[in-house]
């Protein structure tokens, strides 16, 4: 095996695509996978900046531009960035075609390069949302979150119960849909995409406002509630009954994790600061913080929660240390290169063909979709107004902040379709609901928050982000 040491990281592996060395095929692919990933990143960054800049100029949230930029380069339009999970093969990907034309990628190797490159980009996008939630946690205020905890809990619970109940009942009685698919579609209405809302709030400089913290707290709780709802619904579909023990397990582990992470984290944070202060090598603060964040993310995954919850908890804990400001400054460039990959991929993986009314299946779905969209928006908007007697709160903004379903809502559709519970048209309706709420929420949020707080200087966003958290 000695001859393969260092294989795959060799800067020279390009050489094996050189005709003289055609005997080796693995290093050739390794080098072409790097080439494919670099081209994908160029396309992703270009789409995110072009979309973001256009949106910033027409007074829409830049993250909407990143999503739309993703749609434009993705499966629905240019097909530059497509993924095997959506049923696309190497020949559908314009990037793979480009590699074949320019970088001597031979067609036999194309499928394997395509699958590797897609895997790497998907994983970078997942790390992107982990880093985003870590950054959101860092910019959040644990004390404020605990203080708004009861309000966030009301918003989260109402935002799950109201759309679920009205959606399910409406589908059964208005559209004559059978109970099981109706329950599944209703469950898909409960989700909230914390990533999209948090990003818009950060762009509006409202993350640390009371409304912002209620929305973040509620969205985090909603994520946990969503996991429980999905488990309950899936168990109902599969066995016809609810496995109480699993539901209880999820509730206990979610509560234990959240409280445990914060308590242990608080015990650990003085040790963290002391350790970082004694370290002498480059990147000591950032890498130690990431070790902590990734560890909590892993623990969250292990107990069937989500990696992003762990990253958020880690950010919250480290936000309480004296290193917060320095760490925030260092996380900004890391988030800048990873987070756009997430949003552009969400856009690129969105298949707009379900919106095409010339397809009969879609037409049937469109009517159901219109109903679902109405419930999806109304069911979340009312959540803010359940917070009685606090006239200073922008209740509409809180409700609007809970609207986007994003990728989370689609998991319900995916699980539903895979289990056979959802018909094709109901499934299409759920997807339309998710797309619309996801793309509508950023501009709506901007409208209900009137205008951004102290306008960001275009010159130095790193500084601005830090100031933002200092101003709270």
């Amino acid at each position: 095996m000695a001859d393969t040491i260092f294989a795959g990281i060799s800067p020279y592996s390009t050489l094996s695509s050189y005709p003289l060395l055609a005997t080796e095929t693995n290093p050739e692919n390794a080098s072409l996978v790097l080439a494919g990933v670099l081209v994908s990143l160029i396309v992703i960054y270009f789409a995110s900046k072009l979309g973001g800049e256009i949106c910033a100029r027409i007074n829409l949230p830049p993250v909407l531009g990143e999503l739309v930029g993703g749609v434009v380069i993705g499966v629905s339009a240019l097909q530059l960035l497509v993924f095997p999970e959506s049923g696309n093969s190497a020949s559908d990907s314009l990037i793979v075609n480009f590699l074949e034309k320019t970088a001597h990628l031979n067609p036999e190797a194309a499928e394997s390069v395509f699958s590797s490159q897609s895997e790497v980009i998907s994983l970078l996008s997942e790390i992107g949302v982990v880093i985003l939630l870590f950054e959101i946690g860092l910019e959040s205020d644990l004390k404020e979150l605990i203080r708004v905890g009861p309000q966030a809990a009301i918003v989260a619970v109402v935002g799950v119960v109201a759309p679920f109940a009205s959606g399910t009942v409406g589908l059964i009685y208005l559209f004559g849909i059978a109970p099981i698919p109706a329950i599944f579609a209703g469950a898909a209405l409960t989700a909230t995409s914390i990533g999209i809302t948090a990003k818009v709030l950060a762009e509006l400089n409202r993350l640390s406002s009371k409304e912002g913290q209620i929305i973040i707290g509620a969205a985090v709780l909603d994520d946990i509630l969503g996991i429980i709802v999905l488990a309950v619904v899936a168990s109902l579909v599969k066995t016809g009954e609810i496995q109480i023990i699993n539901v209880v397990y999820l509730i206990i582990s979610a509560a234990a994790f959240t409280i445990g992470a914060i308590l242990i984290g608080r015990l650990f944070s003085p040790f963290f600061v002391a350790l970082v202060k004694r370290m002498k090598t480059r990147g000591q603060l950032l890498l130690t913080a990431l070790i902590f964040a990734f560890s909590l993310s892993y623990v969250a995954t292990v107990i069937q929660l989500e990696a992003i919850l762990g990253a958020f908890a880690a950010g919250l804990v480290l936000a309480e240390t004296e290193k917060r400001k320095e760490l925030e400054e260092q996380v900004v460039p890391v988030a800048d290169i990873l987070v756009p990959i997430f949003f552009v991929c969400v856009g690129a993986k969105t298949d707009l063909s379900v919106l095409d009314p010339t397809n009969p299946t879609n037409r049937e779905g469109l009517i159901v979709a219109a109903f679902l969209i109405a419930i999806a928006i109304a069911g979340k908007v009312i959540t803010g107004f359940t917070l009685f007697g606090q006239p200073e709160l922008n209740k509409l903004a809180i409700g609007v902040g809970m609207i986007p379903r994003g990728e989370v809502g689609l998991v319900f559709a995916g699980v539903g379709a895979a289990s056979g519970a959802l018909s094709e048209s109901t499934n299409a309706a759920v997807i339309m609901m998710v797309i619309l709420t996801t793309f509508l929420a950023p501009p709506l949020l901007r409208i209900v928050f009137k205008e951004p707080l102290p306008t960001p200087s275009p010159e130095n966003v790193a500084v601005e982000t830090v100031q933002n958290s200092e101003n709270k």
Copy 2:
């Protein structure tokens, strides 16, 4: 396909590993791959910081600690981080075992999770070295590099010719090795690992010294010469003759790329600055710079050069703009999270079993290795002394800076072994030479440079790096 939109980026995909939803296997793997990558990164960051901090305390370069940290967690020792390319399977990886025990990874899925996770980590390490060379380029001074160009060229050419000639001749006449394997082993002596040397120079605050710039310039030229030497040798082995046309093509394309990238880059850079100034969204400078760097990397790959040469050229060009300082500050955290992955992976993929003298094949190789190591060191150390009449230069330091072969030298061994030109014992000898030069060079460099310039403050390395480049 609608049901799979967003698949693979879903934060909820964890759920499918939940027993209730066992019907879906793909999302399950996707979530476990993320878990595997997170654990790998935790292990890599921990090893790099532990190794780096220990080395910093015993006055050795931290990057040596990252390499040794990699060896400790890699294939030679703990087997936490192993790679399929080295012939390891999922069951060899302690991280995969850990996932099986903690994260409900079932053994059937282990091989696929292992291969995906290894692919992602390998690719992150490749992006790491691309970012490293981009940062080195940013911290280099194009005018200074051009000024030291003739000296760098002498160092590079002597550093290729001297070890190649003496190594090949010695192997043939002293050890009776056949000409073809002798030429191959000789060729492996010509390489220089720019990554390791540049990193040590940066750690010693010597990157912008005249010696530092000569070493960087020579190492870059050496990379290009190495590609040419490898092409020549491989063609010789394969066809028994040298295909002049390919060699000429490589020389012309390398020269055209280097000059073209810098000229076009200089024309482009005012446009770059103007564009970045007009952009309003977060990360505008960093992402625009990375689009440029990745584009040049891709072009370098396409014309059979290396991605890292493109990234270096992009850094050089952007170093001349007024945005240099701001960009350097933003690249530091990105390099901090990606570059250690590269060095730890180099260590983890190093198989120290070739050094075991109880294995008879190794014993035969050990004598040849001793000879190769002597030539490898002497052949590079003399390069500095070919720069006559410049008494102010630390000539020993220049020669020592060219010693580490790193991953580059191993590609020669890999190609040689794959083509059947190298016997097992000669191959093992080449690998021993590479390991020793790689691990010896960092401490030797520190000795010949006496001590680091203005001692780095442990508190704020980002600022220090910038000051460093301002002070030049």
